[in-house]
């Protein structure tokens, strides 16, 4: 078994005992990345020199001061700022942007001894579901390179699935961690809104964005979240709630646990093979002692449009900071300040970003504000109330993560409207702020299928507990894409 086929937890055991050095792990990681990148292009920047230097420094640390992720390589979605390392958001607008500070999540990773191995590809400014809107070219799915890895954290999911890194960070505004995790056959968690500081996460839609964690096993995921969660003075929306050690929740005992399965999640718009895979997964949970019942969600069909109006409206405000003056791309063709704004944005932003900003401006305009933006916010309340009622009686809500397996490259042209059925499944966790995790639960035509487990606010422990119990009872997580065997 090679070093890069090991989980973060397995690597930790070896590193802490001194059976392997951080430098050896880093060298093996960089070598694997070099082997696979030509095929999948998960990285925008591989931090070869920085990571090697950091590993050498870590190896000097005394054994009793080593953190929980000592020497573990991790990839970072390129919309999370890293001091002295380019952060591009996969946009020409930030092609040469080098941040002067770290995101809080990055500071916490460094304090725990993790090694940032580089920055991962994504849809431009996290807008998309396929990683095809990246200015630096798309990422491909390690299971079959004719297919997309999902988006917008497509690079983060593909790098983990291909064995390039055991862990990665993504961001999830409307399913952008969970859907690529499902398409790439790995574990992806969007925690409760506020669980992880958003300081240093480039804002797309502030009331929906959350940093998320990707890994090959539930245990690794719980470990990573335990390290980066917690209150932050730099983010007033981060939660003061105590952060438990999420790995302690992995008991395997889910007897008597109450599981809600929304009828619309297994109905029209979801591929029949996906429904079959999730129904089989529910049978596994029942065999472990969980009580599963179908429930209604009366307003769920409005979730995608609610999400689209709110996210675009917030984006048009957040992206106004890109003016070409303070940082980022700067046009050479301006005679005055106004031209500088217009031309910088014309040349710096891609089509998907421009479209959403213009639509968001329309939704926020005086004539449409009440009928679109405020109406979407009220509909958000109704969707949240539907879920509140379900969570009064049930511990978790389960369904498919996505309505289909991965799309073929170029199949959707990155068009958001095509993904309506997926959004019904993914965006409620963001609209309501709840934690939700995707875990592999089957394969259709050799492409992975994901099951989504949503929990109560700040109850990531139960989500992990269910996911871990399911993972131990099945072997989907043990299958690996053939790319990892050098094919």
């Amino acid at each position: 078994m090679t070093l890069t086929s090991k989980t973060a937890t397995e690597l930790q055991a070896l590193l802490q005992k001194g059976e392997v050095t951080a430098k050896e792990v880093t060298e093996a990681t960089l070598q694997t990345i070099e082997q696979h990148e030509e095929k999948i292009h998960a990285f925008i920047h591989v931090a070869k020199e920085e990571a090697t230097k950091r590993a050498e420094q870590l190896d000097q640390e005394a054994a009793n001061t080593r953190g929980r992720l000592f020497g573990v390589p991790i990839g970072i979605k390129d919309n999370i700022v890293t001091k002295d390392m380019k952060t591009t958001c996969a946009s020409k607008m930030l092609e040469d942007f080098v941040p002067v500070y770290n995101a809080t999540a990055i500071d916490k990773l460094e304090a725990a001894g993790a090694i940032n191995i580089g920055k991962l590809n994504m849809d431009e400014f996290a807008m998309g579901s396929t990683t095809e809107t990246s200015y630096f070219g798309n990422t491909l799915n390690p299971w079959n390179t004719d297919y997309v890895p999902g988006g917008s954290s497509g690079g983060s999911a593909a790098a983990v699935a291909a064995g390039e890194v055991p862990l990665s960070l993504g961001s999830d505004t409307g399913g952008s961690v969970r859907q690529p995790a499902a398409f790439c056959g790995i574990v992806g968690m969007k925690p409760t809104y506020g669980r992880i500081s958003r300081f240093g996460l480039t804002a797309f839609a502030s009331s929906l964005d959350q940093i998320g964690t990707l890994s090959r096993t539930v245990e690794d995921n719980a470990l990573l979240l335990s390290v980066i969660a917690g209150e932050d003075d730099n983010d007033s929306s981060s939660s003061a709630k105590a952060v438990p050690d999420f790995t302690a929740a992995l008991t395997g005992d889910i007897k008597g646990l109450k599981v809600a399965v929304p009828k619309p999640y297994l109905g029209e718009g979801v591929d029949a093979e996906i429904v079959t895979a999730v129904r089989e997964a529910i049978t596994v949970l029942e065999s472990l002692g969980a009580v599963c019942e179908e429930v209604e969600l009366p307003h769920i069909q409005y979730a995608p449009t609610t999400y689209y109006v709110i996210s675009s409206s917030e984006a048009q405000s957040n992206l106004s900071r890109f003016d070409g003056l303070r940082y980022g791309y700067h046009t050479e063709n301006a005679e005055n300040l106004e031209q500088a704004y217009f031309r910088t944005r014309q040349e710096g932003f891609g089509d998907e970003v421009k479209k959403r900003i213009i639509f968001g401006t329309y939704a926020m305009s005086a004539d449409h504000h009440e009928d679109l933006y405020v109406r979407a916010q009220k509909t958000r309340t109704l969707i949240a109330q539907d879920f509140d009622s379900v969570f009064e009686k049930y511990d978790v809500v389960i369904g498919p993560t996505a309505a289909t397996t991965a799309f073929k490259l170029g199949e959707t042209g990155g068009d958001q409207l095509v993904h309506y059925a997926n959004d019904v499944l993914a965006v409620p966790a963001n609209l309501t702020g709840r934690p939700a995790l995707s875990i592999p639960c089957g394969f259709v035509n050799e492409l992975p299928v994901g099951m989504q487990i949503m929990g109560k606010h700040f109850d990531e422990e139960t989500v992990y507990k269910v996911a871990h119990a399911y993972e131990q009872a099945t072997d989907f997580h043990k299958r690996t894409p053939s790319i990892r065997e050098g094919k």
Partner: protein, 95 residues
């Protein structure tokens, strides 16, 4: 069927200072019309008496003393700007 003309595209793009080519206007006109059409289902929802939800988790606004802090050194902050002089960002002519 919803329409969103090239003039509409320019009108809203002007608010947010985004320059567009004629081809862009044509392209976005159709795409944004589709978007507006797709979100029109929100009109079916009975939102009478419903309060808008602005934040996904209930929070209480906690205030603190407004004490200025030096978070980053001025030179460090200016390092990302394309054009600077005497500790300030230079911008093109305003008029």
């Amino acid at each position: 069927m919803t329409t969103f003309s090239k003039e509409d595209v320019k009108y809203f793009a002007d608010f947010v200072r985004i320059g567009l080519s004629e081809e862009d206007k044509e392209n976005f006109s159709a795409k944004i019309a589709d978007l507006i059409e797709s979100v029109s289902n929100l009109k079916e929802v009975d939102v009478t008496g419903v309060k808008p939800m602005t934040h996904p988790v209930a929070m209480i606004n906690v205030l603190r003393e407004d004490v200025p802090k030096d978070i980053l050194d001025r030179e460090v902050m200016l390092a990302s700007a394309e054009d600077q002089e005497d500790g300030l960002i230079r911008v093109p002519d305003i008029l």
